[in-house]
């Protein structure tokens, strides 16, 4: 008896009770479709996170000061004034593995232009910022070394700020007030979006030296303190750069034991790993949810196959009386289960692809349906059919023909 023959017998079995077979298949469709969709969301979130980390720039190290203590209460990482502009200059001069350095001081201020008025982050930094962040003006220019030297009152605004203050007007050469201090706009930054919970477009950039002279002022103890130093390392030299920076800063801050470090280094790798571990947990949770619905679908198949075997006891008896062997009855029912779960699997894959496409369209989430998740879903539905089909099929194949024939 050929395989095609076995399939056609099984197919007739499925068609002989269309509604029931349809409902069984529906269980698998929903299971597989949720696997495809939820894995798509998980994959999308992972890709989005990686893209955002990439967008921050490459080979980056962030140096932040430690926490300031006010009456023994920690004010949080990055609040101590221990890191200075001089530290940044020293790193640039003394660390051979370092390509580029940009110190920055970010602080929120009210900004005005005519009647328009907004609160935004003002980032005082160095011209090297654009190369390190891979973030450039779309019109006008960024400030340069000359502006730094002169302490020019110039600024470059992010595109959200431009929209808030100027609407569709060209902001270049216009004057704005930052906490009452007059600045001339010399450029508008390109659109970058939100990275690491910071809206890169809702910022105004001013030269660091101008910042100290006008908005930030000097710290009584350390002078030109900074909130963070961005370091771009030479290619494949991040380890050396970390080592050199750590040693240099300990030397400059008179620290003898690592326990007393008043600064922290974070690499892009650290951030990437954090993002990946978060999205990994996210994917796992989504996958587990989908897996449960698949399991329920599989139990549905077993349930229906058991009902089907009981209901078709007479049919099995007739088939045995006219000469069907154990293996022939067994394969009929296993193939029935597998055909149902595979039909559900294929339909579920299509529905899942449709579902994740709709989600990215309507909810604006990035979703990615990978070939792996399609192949996985297909194999899983095959496995479910086999696993949950074998027990009812064995029951059918083992029926005593006499008992089966006398069943009504």
């Amino acid at each position: 008896m050929s395989t095609i023959e076995l399939f056609s017998i099984a197919w007739q079995g499925i068609l002989s009770n269309r509604l029931r077979s349809g409902l069984t298949v529906l269980g698998i469709i929903i299971g597989i479709a949720s696997v495809i969709t939820l894995l798509g969301i998980g994959q999308g979130a992972k890709m989005e996170a990686e893209k955002q980390v990439q967008a921050l720039g490459v080979n980056l190290i962030y140096i932040r000061p430690g926490a300031a203590n006010t009456a023994s209460i920690s004010q949080g990482q990055g609040t101590a004034p221990t890191l200075t502009y001089e530290d940044a200059l020293a790193i640039k001069q003394n660390c051979p593995a370092v390509e580029n350095v940009a110190a920055q001081y970010t602080i929120g201020f009210q900004v005005q232009h005519g009647e328009q008025n907004t609160i935004t982050n003002v980032t005082a930094t160095e011209p090297s910022y654009t190369d390190i962040r891979n973030f450039y003006p779309v019109s006008g220019r960024f400030f340069n070394q000359n502006d730094m030297k002169e302490g020019s009152r110039v600024c470059v605004i992010g595109d959200t700020v431009a929209l808030n203050l100027f609407g569709s007007d060209n902001p270049i050469k216009k004057q704005i007030l930052i906490r009452g201090e007059l600045f001339e706009i010399i450029g508008v930054m390109e659109h970058k979006g939100v990275t690491q919970s910071l809206d890169m477009d809702d910022q105004i950039f001013i030269p660091l030296t101008t910042g100290y002279a006008t908005l930030i002022g000097l710290n009584a103890v350390t002078g030109r303190s900074v909130r963070s130093i961005l370091v771009q390392c030479k290619k494949d030299e991040d380890m050396q750069a970390q080592f050199q920076i750590t040693n240099l800063l300990r030397l400059r801050h008179n620290i003898h034991s690592p326990d007393f470090d008043d600064f922290t280094l974070r690499t892009q790798m650290d951030i990437m790993q954090t993002a990946q571990s978060i999205t990994g947990v996210f994917s796992l949770l989504l996958g587990a949810t989908a897996g449960i619905s698949l399991l329920v679908g599989g139990i549905g198949i077993m349930n229906i196959m058991l009902v089907s075997v009981t209901e078709r006891t007479k049919e099995i008896g007739i088939r045995k009386a006219i000469g069907a062997k154990y293996s022939q009855i067994l394969s009929q029912f296993v193939i029935e289960a597998v055909l149902m779960s595979l039909t559900g699997g294929v339909a579920g894959i299509l529905l899942g692809i449709f579902g994740s496409t709709s989600i990215s369209q309507f909810a604006k989430w990035t979703t990615v349906v990978t070939p792996e998740s399609i192949i996985l879903s297909f194999l899983v539905s095959l496995a479910i059919g086999l696993f949950f089909g074998i027990y009812p099929a064995r029951k059918a194949a083992k029926l005593d023909p006499i008992v089966a024939l006398h069943m009504e």
Binding site: I9, I318, K320, A321, G323, K325, Y326, I402, L405
Partner: protein, 226 residues
């Protein structure tokens, strides 16, 4: 040589704590081409005897020679092959598969026999022609009368050219005119050389046979050649 030879056959069931002796030391020979009716009241063991002869059931003790071969110790799959090739069954309730057309029902034994598709179709059509139903072969059993359904069942029983046809109360669910038609088909099959064994409690049906075996309490009461 006897086609069927039963020697001291016992069939013992366990029904809860009780044991039922459905067949007690029964011996019987049937030759090729015979037309036999097995009669007896219900509980006499006639259905059990048919099941044993038809290889649907195995004897608890004794020897069964079919075509000279001892088949007492055969496996279930070997018995399935014997049922497929050597024996055809006709039941009181027809036992057709409701979701299949007359033709598909008749094809089924050939599918299990592994016959090629085209040969299969020829055999099935000729079997349906033999019972006079070639016109209605695309109909479902539910679209056929009782007599027509029984003809389909007979076509299914003879499609693989068996040597033995076992019929269990074949006219029990039919009116007397239709029953006569069906018995006519059996007579023709006997003329063609098939060994027909009827199981019935109806004397009218049994009267068509040329040999009547009467059973009581699992033992042979009478063996009449007509």
């Amino acid at each position: 040589m006897n086609l069927i030879e039963l020697k001291n056959i016992w069939r013992i069931y366990k029904q809860g704590p009780e044991t039922v002796n459905a067949l007690r030391e029964l011996s019987l020979q049937i030759k090729q081409g015979e037309y036999v009716a097995i009669m007896g009241a219900s509980g006499s063991g006639k259905s059990t005897l048919m099941n044993v002869i038809g290889c649907l059931d195995k004897a608890s003790a004794g020897t069964y020679l079919l075509e000279g071969q001892n088949i007492t110790q055969r496996t279930d799959d070997e018995l399935a092959t014997i049922r497929n090739k050597t024996i055809g069954f006709v039941f009181q309730q027809f036992n057709l598969l409701a979701s299949m057309t007359a033709l598909q029902n008749v094809l089924l034994p050939l599918v299990y026999a592994g016959m090629e598709k085209e040969k299969r179709l020829l055999s099935a059509k000729s079997a349906l022609k033999e019972v006079g139903l070639e016109e209605r072969m695309q109909h479902l059993p539910s679209e056929l009368s009782g007599g027509q359904q029984q003809r389909v069942a007979i076509a299914r029983a003879i499609v693989n050219k068996p040597r033995i046809l076992l019929a269990d109360e074949p006219t029990g669910a039919l009116d007397s005119n239709t029953a006569k038609d069906i018995m006519g088909i059996f007579n023709r099959l006997v003329d063609d050389g098939i060994t027909v064994i009827l199981v019935t409690h109806d004397a009218e049906t049994a009267s068509h046979a040329k040999r009547i075996i009467k059973l009581k309490d699992g033992k042979m009461l009478d063996d009449l050649m007509l």
